[in-house]
């Protein structure tokens, strides 16, 4: 029972990290109709900037907050310098241009920080375990990711559902040309939304950094999963992204934690242990295919 709870928590933690990344992606794709492959690069830049600023300020919290501000500025700068020119182009051009950005950022990081990965230490106050139930320890840092992820998810839900900016975002997601016609400053809105997406990506990157390693291309692998999540959730829907991220997180954990044991009941032990990771790897894609057959616009997609 404790084991099950811990594995569910692992899934929630993974899902929340994925949600932060997917939220920004679904906003840009839904509102700006922009395929942004470079979203993973912002995830990476968030982590690298945090590494530098934590070193400079000698404080995890301060360094992290400054890094978030810096990632926002970086996002806005990228939007003004490159992304803005892509809105009127077709998706293929956007894919090519943002893929170019991936290469650019990877090489930029190599030039600035070198090819070897960087390591962010877990801050002292989180470098221990907490008892989530009496006698059931869980790493404090991973627990903190869950808390921060949940708080940000609630804030984002509030922002989208209750504020003027959120209203414009929702309006943009359902009919972009109409809000332009109503006199909303689309340029400013797009810059803000892109910067906001960058902050979420950066936050996910720097929170993952102490568990993982800050390294070149760290965002490229995870971007695919984020794309799967927004397709399942429905492009442009924050709620959809959240639910899909949670489901994908749980599927990933179930695939790793329980699938080998299930397979062992009817396969040889060694066949089961090598088949399980392969199967769990395709499970999320199977889910995506199933959702697309059932609902071609995703679980909460608005566009047809």
């Amino acid at each position: 029972m404790e084991y099950l709870l811990l594995q569910v928590l692992n899934g929630v933690q993974l899902g929340l990290l994925m949600f932060l990344l997917a939220a920004g992606l679904t906003l840009t794709l839904g509102i700006m109709d922009l395929v942004n492959l470079a979203h993973g690069s912002l995830y990476m830049m968030g982590a690298y900037i945090a590494w530098t600023l934590i070193g400079v300020t000698d404080s995890f919290v301060l360094g992290t907050l400054l890094a978030l501000a810096a990632t926002f500025l970086l996002g806005v700068a990228v939007e003004i310098a490159v992304i803005r020119r892509l809105y009127t182009r077709d998706h293929l051009t956007q894919v090519l241009a943002t893929f170019g950005l991936i290469l650019f950022f990877n090489e930029l990081v190599r030039a600035l920080w070198g090819p070897a990965g960087k390591s962010i230490a877990i801050p002292g106050f989180l470098n221990r375990t907490v008892e989530i139930l009496p006698g059931v320890p869980y790493p404090a840092y991973r627990f903190a990711i869950i808390v921060v992820g949940a708080v940000v998810a609630i804030l984002l839900a509030w922002l989208v559902a209750r504020t003027r900016l959120g209203m414009l975002i929702r309006a943009g997601a359902s009919n972009r040309r109409m809000i332009g016609a109503l006199g909303v400053n689309i340029e400013l809105l797009f810059s803000l939304v892109f910067g906001l997406g960058a902050v979420f990506a950066g936050l996910a990157g720097l929170m993952a950094a102490p568990i993982a390693t800050v390294r070149i291309g760290m965002g490229d692998d995870i971007l695919i999963l984020a794309l799967v999540i927004i397709v399942i959730g429905g492009i442009g829907s924050i709620k959809g992204a959240f639910i899909a991220a949670m489901v994908v997180g749980q599927i990933d954990i179930v695939g790793r934690a329980f699938l080998p044991d299930i397979l062992k009941t009817f396969m040889s032990s060694s066949a089961a242990s090598s088949a399980a990771p392969a199967i769990s790897q395709v499970l999320v894609y199977v889910l995506m295919a199933a959702v697309l057959v059932w609902r071609p616009t995703g679980l909460f997609g608005q566009r047809t």
Binding site: Y3, A116, I216, S273
Partner: protein, 392 residues
């Protein structure tokens, strides 16, 4: 007039530069490794060691200058194969060295060894297939067969009395060889054997929770490079470092220690080469490497250094004439050079017959993280696939 002048100048230039170069065509060596992406640090360590070997040789092999063409496999089997093809067919190299990854080597293997003119020296990867039925006279290894290092670890765990072991490794060629290797020798109970997605899985929370629930006497892992960093960090963060000791192969080394830091202190691993092995060649290699780069070399580097030295030994014996491939192979088979691991012999499948040591992670007197030898696990080990190789 002008044309005439230009013509004679060209001839003069050709005589000055072109002709002597033709008479002394350099030895060409291709080197395939990972120079970009998350595992680039390993490739960089190898490149530094190859350059150091070149420096120690004075830039010459058997009296001829030699050039090294580095190719980046990008950590992908298909790219590695394409790069190897280019080295063999376009650059027409005499030797190809390198190869960190078993899946990259397996993909590139046929293209190189079937060509007949190029000799491949693996400086790391040692998949079981190549040691066994796919063995080839054009292939040599200056590392090991994948199963051997974990087999040495298994032997040591037996003598240490570790009663049960939880095995975790990545789901690809080398991961399977490594876990199979430890099972060959370890006599205690195998609690579970988990494979994780490779190379994209870097989060091991589910595995840590499983290990905590299974309560084994020890964890055995194989996670090279960046993945080793993640696993060790997450093992420590989960609190398992206080209850379940970690035994590893290729997961804690000079590449990963700067990022693992104190978390790795006291962990034990097996290896055929350690930076403190007491022989002259090794002292020179390690000292010069440290002087130049300020860090310890890893076994990846040591094996690459040896790969160049092995090629040089054949060129030396043949006075730089590498035209007769049978002679080159015969000279290489002698392993007549000062290896940084100490002297070794080649077995029938051209894999080394060598010692394996147990190393402990410590801090050196300057406070730098490193590993030191604490025991010899096995002596003159022959890999378990040698008998399947038809070569004599």
């Amino acid at each position: 007039m002008k044309n005439k002048l230009f013509g004679s100048a060209t001839i003069a230039a050709a005589m000055a530069f072109g002709l002597p170069a033709m008479a002394q065509s350099p030895v060409k060596i291709g080197f395939v490794s990972t120079f970009s992406g998350p595992q680039a640090a390993i490739g960089e360590d190898m490149r530094r060691s190859v350059e150091l070997a070149k420096e120690h040789l004075g830039g010459k092999m058997g009296g001829k200058p030699f050039e090294i063409i580095y190719e980046d496999d990008q950590f992908k089997p298909d790219v590695g194969k394409a790069r190897s093809e280019k080295l063999v067919q376009q650059d027409k190299v005499n030797f190809i060295g390198g190869y960190i990854w078993s899946n990259v080597l397996l993909a590139s293997y046929k293209t190189v060894v079937d060509e007949g003119d190029t000799i491949l020296v693996s400086a790391n990867a040692g998949p079981s297939q190549i040691a066994g039925e796919l063995c080839n006279k054009n292939f040599f290894s200056t590392s090991w067969q994948n199963d051997q290092t974990p087999m040495a670890m298994g032997e040591y765990l037996n003598t240490k009395g570790v009663k049960s072991l939880y095995l975790v490794g990545p789901n690809y060629a080398a991961g399977k060889d490594m876990l199979a290797g430890v099972k060959r020798t370890y006599k205690g109970k195998i609690v579970s054997e988990d494979f994780t997605k490779w190379p994209d899985q870097l989060d091991f929370s589910a595995e840590m929770t499983k290990i905590a629930a299974a309560k084994p006497d020890g964890i055995f892992i194989f996670y090279p490079g960046a993945h080793g960093v993640q696993f060790v960090k997450q093992w420590a963060q989960s609190g398992l470092n206080k209850t379940v000791p970690l035994y590893q192969v290729f997961s804690i080394d000079a590449i990963t220690l700067p990022q693992q830091g104190d978390l790795a202190l006291g962990t034990l691993g097996a290896q055929e080469w350690v930076n403190d092995l007491p022989n002259e060649a090794n002292k020179k290699y390690v000292e010069d490497f440290k002087k130049k780069h300020g860090v310890y070399p890893s076994y990846y580097g040591a094996q690459s250094y040896d790969a160049i030295m092995l090629m040089a030994s054949a060129a030396e014996a043949l006075k730089g004439d590498l035209s007769n491939k049978d002679k080159v192979r015969a000279e290489m088979k002698k392993a007549n050079f000062k290896s940084v691991r100490g002297d070794f012999k080649f077995g029938n499948n051209n894999f080394p017959i060598e010692n394996f040591y147990i190393q402990e992670t410590v801090k050196d007197p300057q406070g730098m993280m490193t590993v030191k030898t604490i025991a010899t696990a096995v002596k003159d080990a022959v890999d378990p696939f040698a008998a399947k190789c038809p070569m004599k």
